[in-house]
């Protein structure tokens, strides 16, 4: 009799939990309900009485309490970059190669519609390389072909008057620029992702990193002072001599 009551209490509890958890994203709802079922399986033996079962359910807390906690814990983590963010970064960088200009524009739209990045990061992502690497590549290509000609090569070859576009030169220029741009463009992307994958580790210790920076700055200042004073004393010695 009591065993059946225990089973019933647990079933009612889980039914209530499923009802309250309906608003959660599916994956989270499944995991949470699985966790609670597992807990109840461990906490309440099959032959438990009604009183023992009630005690265990009380220790667990009400379904509303658990789901409220889930919603609180869910917030910032949902903003941890997912496929959407990776696609946005990919489009920002190389979208211009796939579909000139438009690919990058879609990347910008995705960047701004994501909740992962701050406005500052979004501005950096948008303005650092307008048009993305693809755009930059095309710009360099256009500028390279229009401004650079094969004057040098032509002159050496004995055709000083002949000015023709030098694809090799432009290509080299584009390649040179591309290397620079890539190094520059990688910074905000990796920064943004770095920031979102581990928000607790990084956001939790702003004081510390600030202090570290201060300490480093102080150390630099001390070193500079030391250098300065030694220089001064050398100068003074020289004057004395």
């Amino acid at each position: 009799m009591t065993v059946r009551t225990s089973r019933r209490l647990v079933d009612d509890y889980l039914a209530e939990l499923r009802g309250v958890a309906r608003g959660l994203p599916r994956a989270r709802r499944r995991e949470l309900i699985g966790q609670i079922e597992e807990h109840l399986g461990e906490a309440i033996p099959a032959d438990a009485g009604a009183a023992a079962t009630r005690t265990e359910l009380d220790r667990l807390g009400t379904p509303a309490e658990i789901v409220a906690e889930e919603q609180q814990r869910l917030g910032p983590s949902r903003a941890a970059g997912g496929t959407f963010e990776w696609v946005a970064v990919a489009l920002l960088l190389v979208g211009g190669f796939v579909i000139p200009i438009l690919g990058w524009i879609v990347g910008v739209a995705m960047l701004w519609s994501s909740r992962v990045w701050t406005v500052r990061e979004k501005l950096i992502g948008t303005l650092l390389v307008p048009g993305g690497l693809g755009g930059a590549f095309f710009w360099v290509l256009i500028l390279g072909t229009s401004s650079r000609s094969c004057g040098g090569v032509g002159a050496r070859a004995g055709h000083p008057g002949q000015r023709r576009p030098c694809p090799g030169g432009a290509g080299r220029a584009a390649a040179d620029h591309r290397v620079d741009l890539r190094a520059g463009a990688r910074a905000p992307a990796s920064r943004a992702h770095h920031g979102c994958v581990h928000p607790p580790a990084h956001r939790a210790h702003p004081v510390r990193s600030g202090r570290r920076a201060d300490r480093a700055a102080r150390a630099d200042a001390t070193a500079a002072r030391g250098l300065g004073s030694s220089r001064r004393s050398t100068a003074a010695r020289r004057q004395r001599v």
Binding site: R28, E31, L32, G34, Q35, I36, E38, H39, G41, E42, A43, R59, L60, G61, T62, P63, E65, I66, E69, E70, Q72, R73, L74, S77, A80, V197, H198, P199, P200, A201, A204, H205, R208
Partner: protein, 115 residues
């Protein structure tokens, strides 16, 4: 004022308890129920056991812990949690911060009670 104080204690607890979970996993993996029981045995750390599970899910999504299913001798399989290198690094960082924080707070509180 009382309500605000209660809320900030809840926030403090919420922030600290996740590192307590990581600390309990420092020496090896544990299953959910085991973790929850260990935490709830500690006075004042957990209000209701069920609220630990959302935290465990969160830590898993943040790659601070990883989970594995294992068969248990007595009943259905258990979800075991273990520390990832990221989780271990976060725990180490927190331990340093916590010691400073605790000493600072103790210092202020004790000075107030002495004067």
């Amino acid at each position: 004022m009382a309500a605000v104080r209660g809320d900030s204690v809840a926030q403090l607890r919420r922030g600290v308890v996740e590192y307590c979970v990581l600390a309990l996993l420092r020496d090896g993996e544990r299953y959910g129920f085991e973790l929850v029981r260990m935490l709830s045995e500690l006075d004042g750390l957990v209000t209701s056991e069920g609220t630990i599970y959302p935290l465990l899910g969160r830590l898993r999504r943040d790659d601070a812990v990883a989970t594995t299913w294992r068969e248990s001798a007595s009943g259905p399989p258990r979800r075991y949690y273990r520390l990832t290198p990221q989780g271990r690094a976060a725990l180490e960082q927190f331990t340093v911060e916590w010691e400073r924080f605790r000493d600072g707070v103790d210092h202020v509180l004790n000075r107030r009670s002495n004067t």
